[in-house]
């Protein structure tokens, strides 16, 4: 079963722990600028904190532009063939998300390898903003949110064992269209 590393930006606090643990795991150094995941922040309009990390595209734009065919999507991960990579960084520029990184100390582009299926960043994110989920589950929460925010939904407050609750229902046929 192929798993996807997915980001829930609304939960990100911008702490950069994902960057630190990524760099420590892959390079053994304390340097957030050597990580394959980076938190970007914008303020105040819009206010956004979002970790940017490889989506492991099946039809990968990075692989398409690689002149030496050093990038290949295999079982859910875009692999870098270090022997064939010429460090031209075409992939860094081609990634539509900016999720491949370069650093002057490193000979190769820095890209997410999913830590062999158990990403360090997901394990250490204190806010649950990074998740590893089965590919087929992608979009699940969006679908649920879509239903919950359905505009014609009505709500009723009621009490159950003394606790306030809300039930939602759709009033069919009575909305003015």
């Amino acid at each position: 079963m192929s798993k996807k590393l997915t980001v829930i930006p609304e939960l990100c606090s911008g702490c950069s722990i994902c960057e630190l643990v990524c760099a420590i795991k892959h390079f053994g150094v304390n340097n957030p600028k050597k990580s394959a995941i980076r938190v970007l922040t914008t303020y105040p309009h819009p206010v956004m904190r979002m970790p940017i990390v490889c989506s492991q595209c099946k039809v990968a734009p990075c692989a398409k532009v690689c002149p030496t065919d050093a990038l290949r999507w295999i079982e859910g991960v875009v692999h870098l063939d270090e022997e064939n990579c010429t460090s031209c960084y075409k992939c860094v520029e081609a990634c539509p998300f900016g999720a491949i990184y370069a650093h002057e100390d490193c000979d190769l582009p820095i890209m997410c390898d999913m830590c062999g299926g158990d990403p360090e960043c997901v394990k250490k994110c204190p806010n649950g903003a990074l998740r590893l989920i089965p590919e087929a589950a992608l979009g699940e929460s969006k679908r649920l949110n879509n239903i919950l925010s359905y505009t014609q939904m009505k709500e009723i407050e009621f009490y159950e064992k003394g606790e306030k609750r809300i039930i939602h229902y759709a009033e069919i046929g009575k909305e003015e269209l």
Binding site: S13, G14, C15, I17, K33, V47, R49
Partner: protein, 609 residues
Amino acid sequence: MSLKSGYFKKHLHVDLTKGNAERRDLPDAFIEKYIGGRGFGAKLVWDNLRKHDFKIDPLGPENLMVVAPGPLTGVYLPSSGKNSFVAISPATGLYGDSSIGGSFGVELRQTGLDVLSITGRAPELSIIFIDNDETTIIPIPELKGKSCLEAEGRIKERLGTHAVHVAIIGVAGENMVRFACVNTDWGRNAGRTGIGAIMGSKNLKAIVLRGHKDIPVYDVPGLVAETEKACKYLEEHKYFKMWQQEGLMNVIEYANEKGILPAYNFKDSVFTKHDQINGAMMLDQYKIGDSACFSCTMCCSNICLVKNGKYTGTVVEGPEYESCAMLGPNLGIDNFAAILAANRLCDELGVDTISTGNIVGAVIEGYEKGILSLSDLDGKEITWGDEDAILELIQRIADRQGIGDVLADGARRIIDKWPEMDKIILQVKGLEQSAYDSRPSISMGLAYATSDIGAHHTRAWTIAKEMEEGQDWSDDEKVDTVIYHQKLRPLFDMLGVCRLPWIELGLSERHYENFYKYVTGKEASLEQLLELSNDVYDLTRLINVRLGVSRKDDSLPHKVWANPPLTGPNAGRVINRDDFQRLLSLYYKKRGWDQDGIPPAGVEKKFDD
């Protein structure tokens, strides 16, 4: 074991008058003795004072401003994003420092520096851009009068990158408002002691950083294991989730319940409409996101948005407790949206929320009591909770317009001009007081009186202990607790880490000797580190003594002796002057200072080299 890692051993000094930048080597002895952060700052400021025969105008080009992270800044451990700004303060004329969280200090370390110092005055408004090994001074006069946020955006446009970290001043800093702050990461301010005014006096709009270097760590696997232990402890703490959600805003409810929340310029210490401005209200109607300092799991900062009413669209990183208390209850404001608007205005202008809240509160009370006339107020009436008048006055302070020009010089000049205001405004050594009422807590009074920067809670915060345990602990215990805090809390500022995991969630301070060991490769016990921190406390005391401080200055605001809170659990309580003096004498004795508060003659030698 001696020092093996943890530092770049580099100090960058920028002379803005000459327009040059010089990288100097830091000797091991200096590093081991002063550790970093405020330790480096105090020593460099001391040396500069000696060079100028202790005659320094805080707003003159000779005042040395130090920007110093610590050896643990930027390292993978709980909340390592701290950085200190140190100088002779324009608010007090004495030793001053202020620390920030966020990521600015991390970026400074990644440029390969342990400390940055700045003197001189640029011929026109400029920025310092440190891009790894290269430093340039760029004149950028078009930023004059621009708010912190707008100017930061323009700098990024001009440099063609968003991947830089910026410490910037607003209009208040440019106008040398003596409680102007330095704004970093948009919403994080080095608020206290007027460091922003120093940048203004140097014609320095911003310090811009871009660094890519590895932060040196001696034993990475050892560090990771220690950090995982600490993080696990924090995550399992029963209040961890609450800290993530409410953050520092949870203190409003606590302070109100205990009767230590400033209301109506400390006339009262509870606020009737506390439920309109507390953490629950924030969560219910305003919070739209979390914000954490670098490498922090607690994320005690919040992002708030006003979604309706006249302040719609106001976004703020915060408010944290102090800002909310000083701009809310202390000014009689019970509308959380207005507090957010005032906080945002302070961020844009670059003024300290604590000092601003004190000064505006004192103006309202001064006018109420007839000390200030309507003409003093330039014909503009101001009363408790009058949001429009309050926001306008804050703007006038930053612009130095009318009465704002006097207020901009802080408590001291206000008292000089209207001596009766001494009974109204809460300050120690010229620094306006933090948002914890010390009247029910004599140990907190001692903490404010003996803090090296003035009435701020950063050095010792014993009020919670006194609230929990009552007044019954002995004088010895009270003084010992204040001194222990004054050793430990500044140690966090020297190491470059946040103290909240310790003070709020009880993370053992023993972790920090291990963090220090894994990062530097040098074994030092917590007790040894505390002694080094204590030496720095002696040094900042020496600085203040050489600048004229003695027992008479280690005092408290008039209200603390004379005007008890009107209602709440501490109604009627004040600090008794004799009790306080007895405690102060004991404090001096335990510190080894004489009864005038002067350290013994030999101490100065410790800081010679």
